[in-house]
Symmetry: C2
Subunit: 190 residues, 2 copies
DNA sequence: TCGTTCAATCAACAAGCGTTGAATGAGAGG
DNA sequence: CCTCTCATTCAACGCTTGTTGATTGAACGA
């Protein structure tokens, strides 16, 4: 008979503390980027000692890796038009909720090689999916442009906080971008 | 009679050294971003002592400010179609030559508040120019999206080096983006 | 020519960083 | 109850960083 809110077992305690550290790490990495985030700051935000963070995660790099690992959301393939619409709804999801983990990657991407690799790794299957759906020889370039647009919009909305982009509703942004995505996924009509 | 290649005067010598430091700073800031760039690395790349960099520029922040100050290139106003085309040629210019100064800003933007302000300050007049040319109530959002696209493409080409984007010719990229820019600068036709 | 200026170097500081190893003290297991 | 485990803390290390002040020596002005 395990009482519901009894004293936690050791394994539970460890797991809770790890999660608390990871949550703090995600938030601070997202706010400050990799370089400016210190292990001491993460530890103090999680209410533990810096040594404990090292003891649990091994190094700052490994902590970053654990903090930002996230299941890449699936992007179903299909015709070019379907992929365009799927990309738009995926963008809409990322414009509605604000996942600290992917913001941490996005902010650290330009200065941390590991974050850049992680970004590429997360982007690659999506890029391939898009590429296959576009029936033109320059499909890979078109897919890369789509990716650049998505991440440019997210970066300027959440990280740079350009006012007009930060205030707009996701639907408004998506509606404005729909013709762009359609023209990039569709071969020249003539 | 000032011989052409005589021993340089003191003022000349100082100016040359300052320029050498600034060039090194631009390159290293562009490669590594603000945080990872050290004054010692800049000094050594310029072939001088780190103390001299401080003596000339006062602080790392001021050095960064001097290194990335750049005359904002003019963007002539006009009809919405003209602005779209002007934006495209401006993008083409930035995809052809590779100005280290603006890459330094771009790379440091997400982690250095000064770089972010600088980016905003450089983008604002262009944004206004674009906004005025678009005859819709959501003109400012459209302008912000155009800016996000431009910088997203540049970032993924030069900083992240996504292969398909890095290899493509500027003309190819511009041709693919033209419909996007036209749809964003033009009110819904129906 | 003499004193001043100033470009340039050198050595050092204080602070902050990631990281380590020993110490503590409370749970787990027999 | 005794022992082992392990979550957690603490103090310290070696290093790098931005920044400073003294110092040198050559160009400059009178």
């Amino acid at each position: 008979m395990t009482e519901p809110s009894a004293r936690p077992t050791r394994a539970q305690q460890r797991h809770r503390t790890e999660e608390r550290i990871l949550a703090a790490a995600r938030q601070i990495f997202a706010e400050l980027g990799y370089d400016r985030t210190t292990i001491r700051a993460v530890a103090s935000a999680a209410g533990v000692d810096a040594g404990l963070v090292m003891h649990y995660f091994g190094s700052k790099d490994l902590l970053f890796a654990r903090a930002v690992e996230v299941p890449a959301d699936e992007l179903p393939g299909g015709t070019s038009g379907e992929v365009a619409e799927a990309l738009l709804t995926s963008l809409g999801r990322r414009l509605t909720s604000e996942p600290a983990a992917s913001l941490a990657v996005l902010r650290s991407m330009l200065t941390n090689a590991d974050a850049a690799d992680r970004y590429r790794a997360a982007a690659e299957p999506q890029l391939n999916q898009i590429t296959e759906a576009i029936p033109t020889p320059d499909a890979d370039l078109r897919a890369s442009l789509l990716s650049a647009i998505v991440h440019g919009v997210i970066a300027e909305r959440y990280l740079l906080r350009l006012t007009h982009l930060a205030d707009a509703s996701p639907e408004q942004i998506i509606d404005l971008l729909r013709p762009c995505f359609q023209s990039l996924t569709t071969p020249p009509s003539k």
